[in-house]
């Protein structure tokens, strides 16, 4: 053995030129790139899965953010301010100090003068404002410019038309108003105009030079006579909205004002703009969290499977790498890099698609809200926050879902990993060759190969079925009749526009329906059983009621109605009349209207009751229903049948009215539909008192009709609707109406929305399941090529093979759908039922139809997928297949 070793120590002959230049420092980069080239389909599916997840998150975030943004803007427009808050009744010094305050970012200047008196339908408020204020309150001029000279003003188009001129820069107008008891009539020039946000009211504003030119109007006399003219108001934005309320109080105190005591001469009212600074709603946040969780689960199911399959397909590779010395850390890094790459490829299109979907879906969702919010402004902007949220959530999901597969890839012992496919193949091969094996049993037994993956596919399919069914049940359970019945008792109800707004409500005599209007309506063909309903207003402070309910001393001034409210120990609030007794919400109606009410206790015969009441022998008390079960709500059930209510007028007891009966009051009985703000602003939680018209007219000085309700004869609905629309537009713009049909439509719309949103979620889960299934099928076909080829070579026909795979697909669907159906039924009877019981709009209604429909579709799809994938991925002769398997 000597000869070979002799030159061992000598220098190696450097016979090889240094020609092979090898610079490959980044192994991971190469391996990742190569693996991408190698597994194109797999990576396509992975990128798709990630894109789908990103789409989910982004679209939902877009819809959520868009809804919030739109609602906020809508509410701000209704409130006519986009500020963070307002301060009222300041002196000039206080205002200057406010501007300098650290809390305030920008503060607008507003000096109210009063309402313009030479108007009829459109109210014009005359305020001196600066441009900051105008900007914050949506009355900056769209045409022309801000006022400079003392006689220049900016006004809305509606205000200008009301004053008889076309909206146009330079138009001359004459304006009358009263300040400090003195009437003024001034000629003014329009320097700019803007489009009014609502029909009822707009602001006309001259600049500060107007104030300087008319010092007598702006005398500060608030402490003496509470005259607003001369005081400073301000809408402002703050630097930080954290603890806004508290900070505002501090600010008021630092300005020398009193934030709490209305009676104090130093009273300074501060109001936080709830439209801008909506309170965080825990229920809404919880819902958002649940949805986010659900989508993450969906993404998890999808991405996990994709990566699980990727690992399985590459396990031999990893085994090889591990054998020749790749550490676990390096395997993990390799997988992570793949995930990062796929995320980088999949996320951007997902974000874009999500944004577009969200943008497209938003109007649909918003339109279902439009019954409760008028003049909706729909807006969603491609904000970085939106994309960041979408990207962060999908990145997080990718990270979460790849943990396990990455760990498996890194931790599989190299020898096992290297042999993975061979061993499995051998085992199956022997079993498969048994002649006459039942194809279906064969397919079923194949499912057990990768337990977790199988479970995930079935789980996402089952979730799809369950979700769709839950949504279907909820949609089915929307009780349209119940909602319609709550909203309106007649075919039509005509009210003042104030009553149609959830933020206003009927509170003033000026808002009463005109007699002419009612007569015009009554004259319409088909209209029958018309009845006007009176309601007390904020001006009727001279009529009060004593029903023996103790109240605490605490009180506050309702900013909308201007009434003082008192509380009892349970924090029920009561609007107080001039003599300090509750005013209650008092309605005057005719017998036909009363007969429609839902009498529960005492005298339940409407006719007999009306007779007695008309004779002055008593009163009908309405109690708000608990909408869930339509029972009387005990919180506001303050008087019992048989008790006596004493009526005071101008401080004198004028009547003693025993409670004859109690009625369950719905939305129609209180105001109209869901808008019940009027009663809240007047009587508060005090009892609803229903009196016959004759008594009401006797009791109140200037009875105002707030509602005119009527039925129509069969077939006259269309006609009446057309008439009312036309009348509202052309003759009396101060009215609005609700019909049984629109009430029904609005209820149905909420059902539509539930179907739309829930259906989308269900379909997405279904999509995830189907995508999982496709991915699995492709994997099965690719990894079992050799096995298939072997089977084909021993005589299994392509038809049989297809059949077996179809069975396998169907097995997955069955495994998902059957438990899904059972779970759906179980959930229906428990969770959904319980949930619906707590919401009055629903009446639980059991159904499995959506689940069955979804199951049928899924079964069909899962039968179809194997056929298609086999066609695409299992081509060529047996020999080729056998070779490809190497």
């Amino acid at each position: 053995m000597l000869s070979e070793e002799t030159d061992a120590c000598g220098p190696k002959p450097a016979g090889c030129e240094k020609g092979v230049v090898i610079i490959m420092n980044e192994m991971l980069r190469i391996l990742t790139r190569r693996s991408f080239a190698a597994g194109r389909i797999r990576n396509l599916i992975a990128a798709l899965a990630i894109a789908l997840t990103a789409t989910l998150f982004t679209s939902v975030a877009a819809i959520a953010m868009g809804t919030v943004e739109s609602l906020t803007l809508t509410m701000q427009m209704q409130k006519m301010s986009r500020s963070d808050g307002e301060l009222h009744y300041m002196t000039r010094e206080q205002f200057e100090a406010l501007r300098e305050s650290d809390l305030i970012e920008t503060a607008g200047l507003r000096m109210p003068v009063g309402f313009v008196s030479n108007t009829l339908r459109h109210n014009i408020e005359l305020d001196v404002e600066d441009e900051v204020q105008a900007e914050l309150t949506f009355c900056a001029p769209d045409h022309g410019r801000a006022p400079r000279a003392e006689n220049e003003v900016v006004a809305s188009d509606l205000a200008l038309r009301e004053l008889g001129v076309e909206p146009q820069v330079g138009a001359q107008i004459t304006v009358s108003f009263t300040a400090h008891g003195q009437e003024y009539t001034l000629p003014l020039v329009v320097s700019g105009w803007y489009k009014a946000l609502n029909d009822q009211m707009s602001v006309m504003w001259p600049g500060t030079s107007f104030r300087d030119a008319h010092p007598e109007i702006f005398r500060y006399t608030f402490r003496e006579d509470h005259d607003m003219a001369g005081t400073y108001f301000s809408d402002f934005t703050v630097r930080s909205t954290v603890h806004l309320e508290e900070n505002l109080r501090k600010l008021v105190r630092s300005l020398g004002g009193d934030p709490d005591d209305v009676q104090s001469p130093d009273y300074l009212q501060s109001v936080v703009n709830r439209a801008t600074n909506a309170r965080m709603n825990p229920a809404r946040m919880a819902a958002a969290a649940v949805f986010t969780g659900l989508f993450m689960l969906c993404g998890y199911l999808l991405i996990y499977n994709v990566f699980d399959i990727a690992v399985m397909q590459q396990i031999r590779r990893f085994g090889l790498y591990r054998t020749i010395g790749m550490s676990r850390r390096q395997v993990r890094a390799l997988m992570n890099r793949q995930a990062l790459w796929l995320g980088g490829v999949g996320t951007p299109p997902g974000l874009l698609a999500g944004f577009l979907i969200g943008k497209a879906a938003l109007p649909v969702i918003m339109s279902t809200l439009s019954t409760e919010y008028r003049n909706l402004a729909v807006s969603v902007s491609p904000s970085p926050a939106l994309f960041l949220t979408g990207a962060a959530l999908s990145a997080f999901t990718v990270w979460i879902s790849t943990r396990k597969p990455v760990r498996v890839a890194a931790n599989t012992p190299p020898v096992e990993a290297l042999r993975f496919v061979e061993r499995a193949g051998a085992r199956r091969g022997s079993r498969r060759s048994a002649p006459g094996a039942n194809l279906f049993r064969l397919a079923w037994s194949n499912l057990g190969r990768s337990g977790r993956r199988t479970v995930f596919i079935m789980l996402s399919l089952a979730l799809c079925v369950v979700l769709l069914n839950c949504v279907g049940t909820v949609a089915e359970s929307v009780d349209v009749e119940k909602q319609t019945a709550f909203m309106i008792r007649t075919d039509f109800a005509v009210v003042n526009v104030a009553s149609a707004s959830n933020l206003k409500g009927f509170t003033r005599r000026s808002e009463a329906l005109r007699r002419q209007t009612m007569e015009d309506i009554a004259a319409q063909p088909g209209v029958r059983d018309g009845s006007a309903v009176y309601k007390n207003t904020a001006e009727d402070t001279n009529v009060t009621y004593d029903f023996g309910h103790p109240m605490t001393e605490q009180s506050f001034v309702n900013p909308y109605s201007g009434l003082t409210f008192a509380f009892d120990e349970a924090f029920r609030s009561f609007g107080l009349g001039r003599d300090g007794r509750p005013m209650c919400n008092v309605y005057g109606m005719e017998e036909i209207a009363l007969s429609r009410m839902d009498l529960r206790e005492g005298e339940t015969d409407a006719h007999a009751l009306y007779e007695k009441m008309a004779a002055g022998e008593g009163v009908l008390v309405g109690v708000n229903v608990d909408r869930r079960d339509m029972s009387l709500n005990p919180f506001v059930d303050l008087v019992e049948v048989g008790e006596t209510i004493t009526v005071y007028k101008n401080g004198q007891a004028v009547m003693e009215l025993p409670v004859l009966a109690k009625a369950a009051a719905n939305g129609d009985d209180r105001e109209i539909g869901y808008t019940v703000n009027g009663p809240n602003e007047i009587g508060g939680d005090g009892p609803l008192l229903y009196l016959p018209s004759c008594i009401y007219e006797r009791l109140y000085d200037q009875p105002s009709v707030y509602k005119y309700s009527f039925d129509v004869k069969e077939g006259y609905e269309e006609e009446t609707t057309a008439f009312l629309d036309d009348y509202m537009k052309n003759t009396d713009p101060d009215i609005n109406y609700l019909s049984a049909r629109t009430a029904r439509e609005s209820a149905e719309k909420s059902r539509e929305m539930i179907r739309f949103v829930g259906g989308t979620v269900g379909v997405i889960f279904g999509l995830a399941g189907v995508l999982n299934l496709i991915n699995t099928m492709i994997t099965i076909i690719l990894t079992r090529r050799r096995e298939f080829a072997t089977m084909e070579s021993v005589g299994m026909t392509r038809r049989q093979l297809t059949k077996m795979m179809v069975y396998e697909g169907v097995c997955y669907a069955l495994g998902g759908c059957l438990p899904g159906l059972i779970l759906a039924a179980a959930l229906n009877m428990t969770l959904v039922r319980g949930l619906l019981a707590s919401m009055w709009q629903f009446t639980f209604h059991f159904t499995l139809a959506p689940a069955l429909a979804a199951s049928v579709v899924l079964l069909m799809v899962s039968g179809l997928i194997p056929i298609l994938t086999l066609r695409f991925f299992h081509r060529g002769s047996v020999v080729e297949q056998l070779r490809a398997a190497d």
Binding site: L2, E4, E5, C9
Partner: protein, 343 residues
């Protein structure tokens, strides 16, 4: 390497250099209105400078540690100690370099051991040679002295002279083999690899044994493509094949056959030399290639047991190899594998 280091130095200085820009901006640029922004610029710039400085110091420390580690290992190895804190299987660059050093050290140790062994083998070789040479020399001396001392008849004389000549020939053969062997073993011999026709080489090898074969009545078949070119050294390959053939002729009884066949493979060209001789037992497959090995059955025949050893050495030097397959009493096939690849 120097290129790389230059780059890294300029890079480590680039960061603090660029970081100085915001620092100066922060100090001198009055144009930036907000004091907060200026302070921020200044602070962030300074922070980057500081971090770069600390980073560089840390890097230097690491380099020093690394050098210390390596030097420590080298020192230990020079002193013949086992290096301290050696973790050859740690996934770090230090461990990698350390491992390489140890590998090199082992290698040197191995070389020393081998050269010692070589001296030993050389000694054995000398004794072997002296032993091998002794017999023919003694014979020659003996016959020479007999011839000189006694008067012998012509026949006897002729016989003795023939014997002397034979012994001298044997001696010559032995010397030739030894020279070849020593040249092979000491590496003086350089192969002149060329792309040549293999059948020419085989023909050359055959020329040395044809006479003997004819004498013993052994038929020789050759099947070899005349245009088969193989990258090899003609002279030495002929020698190797010749030795195998010689061996074959020697151990094949009269009237036997020797056949040579050549088949080109993917990596190797295989030359099979089959005889119909006594055969070799499987357990002696490896032994036949040993120096001075002779099977017991072959003891009666002339030879020194160097032929196959030389053949194997020659083929190995050309990066080929020889295998043997045999059946006792039926014959032996030697397969010479010559690599095809021209480097």
């Amino acid at each position: 390497m120097t290129k790389f280091r230059d780059k890294s130095i300029s890079f480590t200085h680039l960061i603090p250099a660029t970081a100085l820009v915001p620092v100066f901006l922060g100090i001198f640029q009055e144009g930036i209105p907000d004091a907060v922004i200026r302070a921020g610029l200044f602070l962030s710039g300074s922070l980057i400078c500081l971090l770069a400085f600390l980073g560089e110091r840390e890097q230097r420390r690491r380099w020093r540690d690394f050098a210390d580690d390596i030097c420590g290992t080298v020192d230990a190895l020079m002193d013949g100690r086992a290096p301290e804190n050696s973790h050859p299987c740690e996934d770090s660059q230090e461990a990698r370099v350390q491992g390489k050093l140890l590998q090199y050290y082992d290698w040197m140790q191995e070389c020393q051991r081998q050269s010692r062994q070589e001296r030993q083998t050389l000694k054995e070789l000398v004794s072997d040679i002296s032993h091998q040479v002794k017999t023919p020399l003694a014979n020659i001396q003996m016959f020479a002295s007999i011839l000189r001392q006694r008067r012998l008849d012509e026949n006897k004389r002729e016989e003795f002279l023939t014997t002397i000549a034979e012994q001298a020939q044997k001696l010559d053969f032995l010397m030739q083999s030894l020279i070849k062997m020593s040249r092979l073993e000491t590496g003086i011999l350089v192969m002149h690899m060329e792309n040549n026709r293999l059948c020419d080489t085989i023909a050359q090898a055959l020329s040395g044994i044809l006479a003997l074969a004819e004498q013993k009545g052994i038929g020789i078949d050759v099947s070899c493509g005349s245009d088969l070119m193989v990258w090899h050294d003609v002279k030495w390959t002929a020698e190797a094949i010749g030795n195998i053939l010689d061996n074959g002729v020697k151990y094949t009884p009269k009237g036997g056959r020797i056949s040579i066949s050549v088949c080109p493979w993917q990596f190797y060209t295989r030359v099979d030399i089959a005889d119909t001789g006594m055969g070799i037992a499987a357990e002696h497959y490896n032994d036949v290639f040993q120096r001075f090995y002779r099977t017991r059955d072959a003891a009666a025949l002339p030879g020194v047991g160097l032929g196959l050893y030389l053949a194997r050495s020659i083929v190995a030097r050309q990066r080929g190899y020889i295998t043997v397959k045999s059946e006792i009493g039926k014959g032996t096939v030697f397969s010479v594998f010559l690599p095809n690849g021209a480097e």
